[in-house]
């Protein structure tokens, strides 16, 4: 009997905690389907009869209201995030391999130095980068943003992949070398597949960082050809008013890819956080 009460209490606590965790997100998702009149009139949000798809039609330009270039923003975000993620994985894999497999002078200093660059707040960097990029003609270009995100992601990618590669026993690749593989073949055929989970984890972190970044993108991108989704959220704000309905619909478009990707690799995500971090 006492055990049952304990179980019931436990589930009650979990239910409440999960409710608190989900509610703010759900609130935005629900409002993506409510017309602005209902939102501004402070109507009962549980009155589902007023729910429509109009907000999505409007922001995608199907509803007659002058559309925002949302599809262009989505494309920009995808190109920027994907490119910087793939590049961060390649550069990070090389760096992580160097840290996991070699002893060399200045190794620890270099490792800590790389990690510290990650501690610099985006806003503090955005001022000088803004000026230098304007000199180099990189402002408002995709390569300009991609380079910044690549540099942001590389240290963390190296850190995670270093942790993962160290889990892969060195003997395996040595055995492959003895069997006649080149160093590259041994890496590609033996170590790479074994570190796949870590690569997935590092990739998802890099992608989410780029996908969600705002402080730098808001200064480095201007036109519809480069603006990313988080920056585009600002399009829904005027000086004194905010188009809440449109903003919520846009928010849903931002969340969906992040959610899908994270759910697909969530097992690796947890392993990545713990392995990369704790087994030092």
């Amino acid at each position: 009997m006492r055990k049952n009460v304990r179980q019931a209490l436990l589930w009650l606590c979990i239910f409440l905690a999960m409710g608190f965790i989900c509610m703010p997100g759900l609130w935005v998702v629900l409002n993506a389907f409510r017309p602005n009149v209902a939102i501004l009139g402070n109507e009962n949000p549980l009155n589902f009869s007023s729910y429509t798809l109009d907000n999505f039609r409007n922001i995608l330009g199907l509803g007659g209201i002058q559309p925002l270039p949302v599809l262009a923003y989505f494309r920009n975000s995808m190109i920027i995030s994907m490119t910087s993620t793939v590049m961060a994985l390649v550069v990070g894999l090389a760096g992580g391999y160097a840290f996991a497999r070699f002893h060399f002078r200045g190794k620890n200093a270099m490792f800590v130095g790389l990690m510290l660059t990650r501690a610099i707040p985006g806003v503090a960097l955005s001022l000088p980068i803004f000026i230098i990029w304007s000199w180099l003609g990189l402002l408002d270009t995709m390569p300009g943003v991609i380079m910044v995100y690549l540099a942001m992601n590389v240290p963390f990618t190296i850190w995670l992949l270093d942790g993962f590669l160290r889990q892969v026993p060195q003997e395996l690749s040595q055995a492959a070398r003895i069997d006649g593989c080149t160093a590259w073949q041994a890496f590609w055929k033996v170590e790479f597949p074994l570190a796949r989970g870590g690569i997935a984890a590092a990739g998802i972190f890099a992608f989410l960082t780029s996908w969600n970044e705002f402080a730098l993108a808001s200064q480095l991108t201007r036109s519809p050809d480069t603006k990313t989704m988080p920056v585009a959220l600002m399009d829904f704000t005027a000086q004194f008013t905010i188009d809440w309905a449109g903003m919520c619909a846009m928010a849903v478009l931002i969340i969906i890819p992040a959610l899908l990707l994270t759910f697909l690799v969530q097992k690796h995500l947890i392993a990545g956080l713990t392995l990369g971090g704790v087994k030092g």
Partner: protein
């Protein structure tokens, strides 16, 4: 040849970091000694020594923002740690459906901080926000609470948003720690007559400490993220009551155009962020030595 391999492998990483991080840092250090204004590009050559720093040290608004940033970080990090530990202990008890719960738990991590800013600005809105709606319709309150208009409440609202966004990081890492813990020490402690609390305090908690510090280190690497949330929810207002060092810096640089002064602020904020990271990293190393 073999000796140069690690350096060759690291070269791309070092190059990109040098271009995107070190070069701007050198530039911002230089420009923090000039009277650089965005509107007058030639002013970058006007060297004024430590004048920007002297000015900052005398500027009370800056010190308020500085102190408020540290207060904000302290409150937020401690709250996230406590709540994350609570969630991790709760979830560890669950035997069925834990994977689903873990996935739900990570839900807020996927939200862009800027999105979280808009989301909570919406929820805390005094006219149309759900928080006031619930207070009025569920608890019969007459007036609406001006969450983002009152200085003190606004800082609280910001903290809530930031905590919602990042508690999962702690919860997930601590849960991983709890799950990797061998069960023998706890059972031995119980056999020796320890209460549940004593077993937690003297066995579980020390084992978890490396995980606590790794979470702190990871979070301290991104504390500047709070900029997005603050910028959207209050933009430093009302009347500068929620101004953090980052919003003040962005305002000085981009709105007032005083890049030199803003970069001086940036340097101070970078040192502050690094101090947090180095502190937590040192704690992490110490805790590792203690456990392994």
């Amino acid at each position: 040849m073999r000796r140069s391999w690690p350096y060759l492998l690291l070269l791309p990483a070092l190059l990109i970091v040098a271009l995107v991080v070190l070069l701007p840092l050198v530039f911002s250090l230089y420009s923090s000694f000039t009277a650089y204004r965005l509107t007058r590009p030639d002013s970058i050559t006007r060297f004024i020594g430590f004048a920007n720093y002297v000015r900052l040290f005398q500027d009370m608004d800056f010190w308020w923002a500085f102190g408020r940033t540290i207060l904000f970080l302290t409150i937020v990090l401690n709250a996230e740690l406590s709540l994350g530990l609570g969630l991790a202990l709760l979830l560890e008890q669950v035997t069925r459906g834990q994977r689903l719960l873990r996935t739900i738990l990570m839900f807020p991590m996927m939200f862009s901080p800027i999105l979280v800013g808009f989301q909570f600005k919406f929820m805390f809105n005094d006219n149309i926000g759900i928080v006031n709606y619930i207070l009025q319709h569920g608890f019969g309150m007459q007036e609406s609470v001006p969450w983002l208009v009152d200085g003190r409440l606004a800082l609280f609202a910001l903290a809530v948003a930031e905590i919602w966004n990042s508690t999962s990081v702690f919860a997930i890492l601590l849960l991983a720690g709890l799950m990797s813990m061998p069960s023998d020490p706890i059972e031995a402690a119980k056999v020796d007559g320890c209460s549940a609390w004593q077993a937690f305090r003297h066995v579980t908690l020390p084992y978890l400490m490396p995980f606590v510090w790794i979470a702190m280190t990871i979070r301290s690497l991104e504390v500047g993220r709070a900029f997005d949330i603050v910028k959207i929810m209050t933009n430093g207002g009302p009347g500068g009551r929620t101004e953090l060092i980052w919003t003040l810096m962005a305002r000085t640089g981009y709105v007032d155009g005083r890049m030199g002064l803003a970069n001086a602020m940036g340097y101070i904020s970078i040192i502050l962020s690094m101090a947090f990271t180095v502190h937590f990293f040192a704690k992490l190393s110490a805790a590792r030595r203690h456990v392994y």
